[in-house]
Symmetry: C2
């Protein structure tokens, strides 16, 4: 019943919905890691989110329209979480946050290669990626001629992982 916002400022309102240490992490994992189930989000979490926090954030994000939840037809207990148009449009914010983090924070190569591609690709790439996310999460029709940005980001990430694993094995 607490629908009173602190102010009508767009920055503030964005912060009131996303301004905590976990909400964007959850959306990031769904968006870039294509994790769609509770356990996937919990167990593959790079940052080690706790199950109660994850449950709370998923609930809140669904309530606020940033995620949707459907039952998985293949398993009675599984739920499938999907992005909505609202969260798909966070791509530019993620891209800018990634660029800023890469410039000023001690990022790891493996985890920042995707941010680098997103930064270099610029807005046209972001638009392609958002269109792909709509196909993946909103059941929008797919243009089969277009190469997948998602696959490109994933391939670049796996390449760095493999290269570093090989370098470590050689030591």
């Amino acid at each position: 019943m607490n629908e009173a916002y602190r102010s009508g400022c767009p920055i503030n309102l964005t912060l009131e919905v996303l301004g905590d240490r976990w909400s964007l992490i959850v959306i990031r994992d769904i968006m870039f890691g294509n994790r769609r189930h509770f356990r996937e989000l919990l167990q593959n979490s790079e940052e080690g989110i706790a199950s109660n926090i994850l449950a709370d954030r998923l609930k809140r994000l669904v309530e606020r329209g940033l995620l949707s939840r459907e039952d998985d037809p293949s398993h009675k207990q599984k739920g499938i979480y999907s992005l909505t148009e609202m969260s798909i449009r966070l791509v530019p914010i993620f891209a800018e946050m990634g660029a800023w983090g890469r410039r000023f924070m001690p990022v790891s190569e493996e985890l920042s290669i995707r941010a680098q591609l997103l930064e270099e690709g610029g807005r046209p790439l972001w638009e392609d990626f958002m269109e792909e996310l709509r196909v993946l999460h909103l059941h929008a029709p797919r243009d089969p001629a277009k190469p997948s940005v998602f696959d490109r980001l994933r391939a670049a990430y796996l390449e760095v992982v493999a290269r570093n694993a090989a370098a470590n094995a050689a030591e």
Copy 2:
């Protein structure tokens, strides 16, 4: 001494520094409202920040390099808070957050006119604005030929405020 980050992901690292409900609000007020003293930030706060939270955030942001603090020569007790290159480079993130907030959240006209201009102006305007912030906060040399983005944002805001005040008075 808790310098252990949760992960080396750029998104996560950005969130670890800025992912709370007040840090970006404080930077926003310094950046767009040109509030440079503690009391200015406290008393003009649209969202009503508490003094202990403000003190804590200012301290943290200075420690992490997002703000700098100098003594005000005109008043022995006053401190002047300034943006750093690190926080000036948040302009694109603010612009994207503003655009997202405007699209999806119940923003007020008065407080979103600046976000609108920033969105419409795009990256060239952001660059101009960042250059101006460097003049204002980093003592960088000013190009006198360039019209001030800061003044344009401020004028647009005051115009909306005045228009709405006139409309209310006429009722």
